[in-house]
């Protein structure tokens, strides 16, 4: 095994946080090496050091045995390191070819014909099919990612860092990505994959597990099980969440009938969508990001008004009600972006748990807010949801993602006596907290609340949901019961096939 990249005793500190602590690892030529760890374990810091975005405080980076000091990404690129970020940075109005060569030219004249020849050769070598003259904004997300990869290869990358590359892909696109990665491996490239999805991690050659900035270990993937890796990652074993299937009632709590909604550009984000959500069930909502999940949930919650059709809650139309009215009817909403949609960052925990109820007599003494009662309530929430914070006065801005989400749960679960809407409730959270959120959702369901759960984690959806509805371009492609749902079938429906096509 020839070592291509080696990291020796790398450390990086941000103020009081030791983001990387004495991390050492090797990446071989032709290896798919996975970096696994919870949020804040130091994966992103490590890859940013490798790509020259941060300068490590200590330790050495060697490429092909030669020590490197990266002052900027340009140095890293020159040393043969490429990176594909989670969010792509293509120029939307440029063609694929222009996007690949932009910024790579030397001198005044850009020889597009020569560039085209080189890009073609690269694509052929790795079995990539991309229309070089297509405009970037017309490409699917999966294709855009390929462009990013080709761009890195064009710059001469021999070591490719991929930061959570499948977060935005359908299962089928992910499979195609991994097929591409294995061809690139065979060609001798080294790939560093940052991921926390276990099924992807298992496709790597070796895994390096990080926990709290330290390397727990590097192991051959073939020699470990998922559970062992999880245990290494979080430092303890995890109780699997297994939803007891229950006999969902057929009492509809929410009925969406032929809902249509146009966005500002006139695109139909909801296109005649109909859906029924019953008491005491978790209805999963599967779909690729941006197919109307957010709009559907926000329409039910009363944040957006639909243009056509109707939405009923317990048989009464709520199409014209405000979010405040709907919340009072017993609907809780855990929004997609917790800090942007769900919290006031500069407010304390005590202030955030009463957000939306701040006019209620329960929180007032005379015309003024009752600070004592709010603090009391916040303390109760902190205890009930095991929120880690300095106290009820702690500004939410300073909480971790998991604790911030728990503040939202404390507020919204209390409201959700009839219906709970959850949009990506576990996105970006650590495994332990994910587990916690899932259990809370199931507890609500067992109380008879109708739960709508939109998530991009298909395996979680399958584990938790009683039924799964697949949304594609603002329509429901079909609803499949728990027993007959699997990732492949859902994946095809998420790409636009109807229930009949995949049955």
């Amino acid at each position: 095994m020839t070592v291509r990249l080696s990291v020796k005793n790398l450390s990086k500190r941000f103020g009081p946080v030791q983001a990387n602590d004495d991390v050492s690892l090797d990446v071989a030529a032709g290896e798919l090496h996975c970096l696994l760890g919870e949020n804040g374990a130091g994966k992103s810091t490590l890859s940013a050091c490798l790509y020259g975005l941060y300068r490590p405080d200590g330790g050495r980076i060697l490429v092909e045995g030669a020590e490197q000091v990266f002052r900027s990404p340009a140095d890293a690129i020159a040393a043969g390191i490429g990176m594909v970020h989670q969010h792509f940075v293509l120029v939307p109005t440029f063609t694929v070819l222009e996007n690949i060569v932009v910024g790579t030219g030397v001198g005044v004249k850009l020889d597009l014909a020569e560039a085209r020849k080189r890009v073609r050769a690269l694509c052929e070598r790795h079995g990539l099919e991309i229309a070089l003259d297509a405009v970037a904004e017309d490409l699917s997300v999966g294709e855009q990612q390929w462009v990013e990869i080709v761009k890195a290869l064009y710059l001469g990358a021999r070591i490719l860092i991929l930061d959570e590359p499948t977060a935005v892909l359908t299962p089928q696109e992910s499979d195609r990505l991994f097929a591409l990665l294995s061809r690139m491996k065979a060609d001798g490239l080294s790939i560093i994959l940052i991921s926390h999805k276990m099924n992807e991690v298992m496709r790597s050659d070796r895994v390096s597990v990080l926990r709290r900035g330290r390397l727990v270990g590097t192991i051959m993937t073939s020699a470990v099980t998922r559970d062992e890796l999880t245990c290494m990652m979080i430092g303890r074993a995890l109780q699997p969440v297994e939803a007891k299937p229950r006999i969902a009632s057929n009492v509809p709590v929410v009925q969406v009938r032929d809902a249509t909604l146009q966005d500002l550009r006139g695109v139909r984000v909801l296109d005649g969508l109909s859906l029924e959500l019953n008491a005491g069930e978790v209805l999963g909502l599967a779909g690729i990001a941006g197919n109307g999940q957010r709009e559907l949930i926000e329409a039910i919650a009363g944040i957006r008004r639909i243009d056509g059709g109707d939405i009923l809650l317990d048989g009464r139309s709520i199409g014209g009600s405000t979010a405040r009215d709907i919340a009072r009817l017993g609907v809780g909403h855990v929004p997609e972006d917790r800090f942007k949609d769900g919290l006031v960052p500069d407010f304390s925990i005590a202030e955030n748990v009463i957000l939306g109820q701040h006019w209620d007599a329960a929180w007032r003494r005379g015309p003024l807010l009752d600070g004592e009662r709010m603090a009391h309530h916040a303390n109760a929430s902190i205890a009930e949801f095991s929120i880690v914070a300095t106290g009820p006065d702690a500004p939410v801005r300073k909480l971790s993602g998991g604790n911030a989400q728990k503040v939202i749960l404390a507020r919204e679960l209390a409201k959700a006596t009839r219906c709970l809407l959850c949009n990506q409730p576990t996105r970006g959270l650590d495994v332990g907290v994910i587990d916690y959120v899932h259990n809370e959702i199931l507890r609500k369901r067992d109380e008879g609340v109708a739960v709508l759960l939109a998530s991009e984690e298909l395996e979680d959806l399958i584990a938790l949901s009683d039924r799964i509805a697949v949304i594609f371009r603002g329509r429901i492609m079909g609803v499949i019961p728990r027993g007959s749902a699997d990732v492949a079938r859902l994946g095809r429906m998420m790409a636009g096939a109807s229930t009949k096509d995949v049955a």
Binding site: R71, S72, D325, K340, D341, P345, L355, H358, L369, G371
Partner: protein
């Protein structure tokens, strides 16, 4: 602690900078500062005059701070001062002869309505027609100021037989009572302090203040909870305008005893500086306004004693603001050199 230190350094730096200005004006800095201090706090009368000068600045500072707390950039205190003065004058002069107990409430009400309506108009323009509030308030300033000019320039309000752009003197019963004998300190100062106290409670402890602060941090989270954000915006503009309107009426009925354009101009814009120096808190606004009142008041004595032109005070105000902002930036962020931009 870092904050107190930064402010101390900023104050020293500002004093040093002003000293250079005094030197450039050919005066001894120590003598100039001494005159400035004596002119503003040297006697009971000087202190009273300082507070008189501070009164409208407290109000425009509060008006601006309230709007800025909600991240609504009301630059319209200037026009709202004029609108408050004009509406109060119109109400009072239409009233005819009446005792002070009637006249003064009418004046206060007129000021609140005039300023509030102009502020509210900017709020409606923003929420109904998506007109940026900075543009709307600045443009409304011009409109109101020129409307007053029109009314005073050989218009219906011009003092009969007068030559200046001003109204006749207001009746004695409409003048704001003097609080402190042999000085010019009038009821308006007390009312301004009262408004500051009320505002402090509203912002910190009422549900409305909760919404205002929430809007300043994350308006979207409020929308997600079904709060009627448009109504909130309009309410904030109404209140902000009403407070600024009081400043105008108090100048007319407490200091000038007639309505004229020149003495009102600048109060609203200075209020923006006051609000920022006061860190958008009512308490801070009062302190900053008294400081600026002292500068304005002491400037005359400084000019007489040392020949430093009193207009230099505006430069000093700007210097204070600049150093304050620098101190604030230093206490909020740690600046460090980096080798490249990520």
């Amino acid at each position: 602690m870092a904050w107190a230190g930064a402010i101390a350094v900023a104050a020293l730096a500002a004093v040093a900078c002003c000293s250079l200005l005094f030197l450039a004006a050919g005066a001894d800095p120590i003598a100039a500062f001494a005159a400035l201090a004596k002119g503003s706090f040297g006697s009971a009368r000087a202190i009273a005059d300082t507070l008189v000068k501070a009164t409208p600045l407290i109000l425009t500072g509060l008006a601006t701070a309230l709007a800025f707390r909600a991240r609504l950039w009301n630059i319209g205190a200037e026009g709202q001062v004029f609108a408050g003065a004009m509406f109060a004058y119109w109400c009072q002069s239409s009233l005819g002869p009446a005792p002070a107990i009637v006249q003064i409430p009418v004046i206060v009400l007129g000021a609140v309505l005039g300023g509030g309506l102009l502020g509210g108009l900017a709020g409606v323009l923003k929420t109904r027609f998506k007109v940026d509030e900075v543009i709307a308030t600045v443009m409304l300033n011009y409109i109101v100021i020129y409307v007053l000019s029109l009314l005073l320039q050989q218009g219906p309000w011009t003092e009969s037989g007068g030559f200046f752009e001003q109204t006749a003197l207001v009746p004695a019963a409409s003048k704001l009572p003097i609080l402190w004998e042999k000085t010019r300190l009038h009821l308006g100062f007390l009312l301004a302090l009262f408004v500051a106290a009320i505002l402090q409670v509203i912002i910190q402890r009422s549900p409305l203040g909760y919404e205002i602060r929430a809007a300043g941090s994350n308006l979207r989270a409020l929308e997600f909870q079904g709060v009627n954000v448009s109504r909130l915006v309009i309410v904030v503009f109404l209140l902000s305008g009403a407070i600024a309107g009081l400043a105008g009426a108090f100048e007319v009925y407490g200091v000038q005893y007639r309505l004229k354009s020149g003495t009102l101009s600048g109060i609203g814009y200075t209020g923006i500086i006051i609000a920022i120096l006061g860190q958008l808190s009512p308490r801070g606004v009062v302190v900053a306004a008294v400081l600026f009142g002292a500068l304005l008041n002491g400037a005359t004595l400084m000019q007489i004693k040392t020949g430093v032109p009193s207009a230099l005070i505006y430069a000093i105000e700007a210097i204070i603001l600049m150093f304050f902002l620098i101190a604030w930036a230093f206490s909020q962020f740690r600046l460090r050199r980096i080798d490249h931009v990520v």
